[in-house]
């Protein structure tokens, strides 16, 4: 627990949280390890966690009928994986696969959702941070969409 608390406290994503809020987060945290090639989650499954990648690489994929699994983005050490736990329908929209042995801290989303409903300050702090991630992902996605390396940049 001490070790987890240390890691979470140091991570930029959680910086600025009050000690009380941080303690709640730590209370919902656990270590997970995903072996090479194993799925972290599947599209359609219930989304009850989010992850902080400590080491390794995870690819966000979508299964297509004619091209097989297509990778949309690769996430690395320090990245946050997963925001579908935060808002209904609490379902994963993509697949996530560990490209190599990956160690992560899993945060219990179901537990945190309840805590956020009860403590709106905690809810706001978490939503602010996730909104920032979504914004950055949206920006990256838009750049990918622009196909800037294509014939007509």
């Amino acid at each position: 627990m001490e070790d987890l608390k240390h890691i979470l406290a140091e991570h930029p994503f959680f910086s600025g949280l009050s000690p009380e809020h941080l303690a709640i987060i730590v209370g919902c945290a656990s270590n997970v390890r995903i072996d090479t090639g194993k799925m972290v989650f599947h599209e359609g499954e219930e989304a009850n966690q989010f992850y902080l990648i400590r080491s390794g690489h995870v690819s966000l994929q979508l299964m297509t009928p004619n091209k097989g699994p297509v990778t949309l983005e690769t996430l690395h050490e320090g990245d946050i994986l997963g925001w579908s736990w935060l808002l209904p329908p609490y379902e994963w929209h993509f697949d996530a696969k560990a490209l190599e042995l990956t160690r992560m801290i899993a945060l219990d989303g179901k537990c945190l959702r309840t805590k956020c409903e009860n403590d709106h300050h905690l809810g706001y702090e978490l939503l602010k941070r996730f909104a920032d991630i979504m914004m950055k992902r949206l920006e990256s996605t838009r750049l990918q969409l622009l196909d800037i390396y294509g014939d007509r940049p």
């Binding site: 097989g68 297509v70 990778t71 983005e73 690769t74 750049l143 990918q144 622009l146 390396y149």
Partner: protein
């Protein structure tokens, strides 16, 4: 504050008519990807070698078809061979794509301001390349690798469209095998079989191993990519004075006389194409300037 170096020092022979091309013979043609190829050239007549600085370009003439600016993509420490890598997308480049060993091209150059690699002495060096942008950066990479001890950490972040668009694969592998270079490659769209990184090249910046307070960054690729990259580098703490980008504009003469390449008050052919980001960042976001 130094911006572009004195053009006098760039070994241009002013006594020659700057509008006449010099004949160079194709020694080798190499297909890099489906739409990109490299030509290796040797000068004819009594020119024995072609000296240039990384970041400079030539006007390349295909007989009867036309002339276009192409960055030099070869090794500046090996001036016996002139190397150009280009996409075959227009009339001239498509005609060039059909040429073979023994055919002759006309070359005028070298023109333009170079990547100020010597200003990076004692600093970490970050190269951020997008798509074909790796070609104009490659000479600077060669230069840095040739004098590796002058620099701190050296990082290459390279993004391109799909895995089949990755340029200079063998070279990337060779560089990766060295312990004193960090090479990261990413693609916008993955393909089955690609186990490498997927995502925009800007995403690699926050995590790359360099000290932003003591870094020189050289960025080349589509203009949008360079704008976002510069923003991301700046967000990480790299001063705009130490970020360099390379612009492209319509060029007819490459010697500052035809007026086409003007960008605000600068001529991209002689005041650029390499610019310090701080010098032009406000103009880059003005529409249709």
């Amino acid at each position: 504050m130094a911006t572009a170096p004195d053009l006098q020092s760039l070994k241009i022979d002013y006594k020659r008519n700057p509008m006449l091309p010099w004949p160079f013979q194709i020694k080798r043609v190499k297909r890099e990807t489906e739409d990109t190829f490299t030509v290796e050239l040797q000068p004819l007549d009594d020119l024995k070698e072609f000296s240039f600085q990384p970041g400079q370009f030539n006007m390349v003439y295909v007989h009867g078809i036309g002339e276009i600016p192409i960055s030099i993509s070869g090794d500046p420490t090996k001036p016996h061979t002139l190397v150009h890598t280009t996409r075959a997308v227009g009339t001239v480049t498509k005609a060039m794509d059909k040429l073979r060993r023994g055919d002759i091209l006309g070359i005028r150059g070298p023109y333009g301001t170079p990547w100020l690699v010597d200003q990076a002495n004692g600093r970490d060096v970050v190269f951020v390349a997008g798509g074909i942008g790796l070609a104009p950066l490659r000479p600077a990479l060669y230069e840095v690798v040739a004098h590796r001890e002058r620099y701190g950490k050296v990082v290459l972040l390279y993004g391109t469209r799909t895995p089949s668009d990755v340029l200079f694969r063998q070279e990337l592998e060779n560089w990766r095998a060295r312990f004193d270079l960090e090479i990261y490659v990413t693609v916008d769209r993955g393909m089955s079989g690609w186990r490498g990184n997927v995502g925009v090249v800007t995403h690699l910046i926050s995590r790359a191993p360099f000290d932003p307070r003591n870094t020189s960054a050289f960025v080349c690729g589509p203009e949008i990519m360079m704008r976002f990259t510069a923003m991301e580098l700046h967000k990480r703490g790299v001063d705009n004075e130490h970020i360099f980008i390379s612009l492209e504009r319509n060029m007819k003469c490459a010697i500052g006389l035809c007026g086409h390449c003007q960008f605000g008050s600068v001529f991209v052919c002689k005041d650029g194409p390499v610019f310090r980001y701080s010098q032009i960042k406000d103009m880059l976001v003005k529409w249709e300037v």
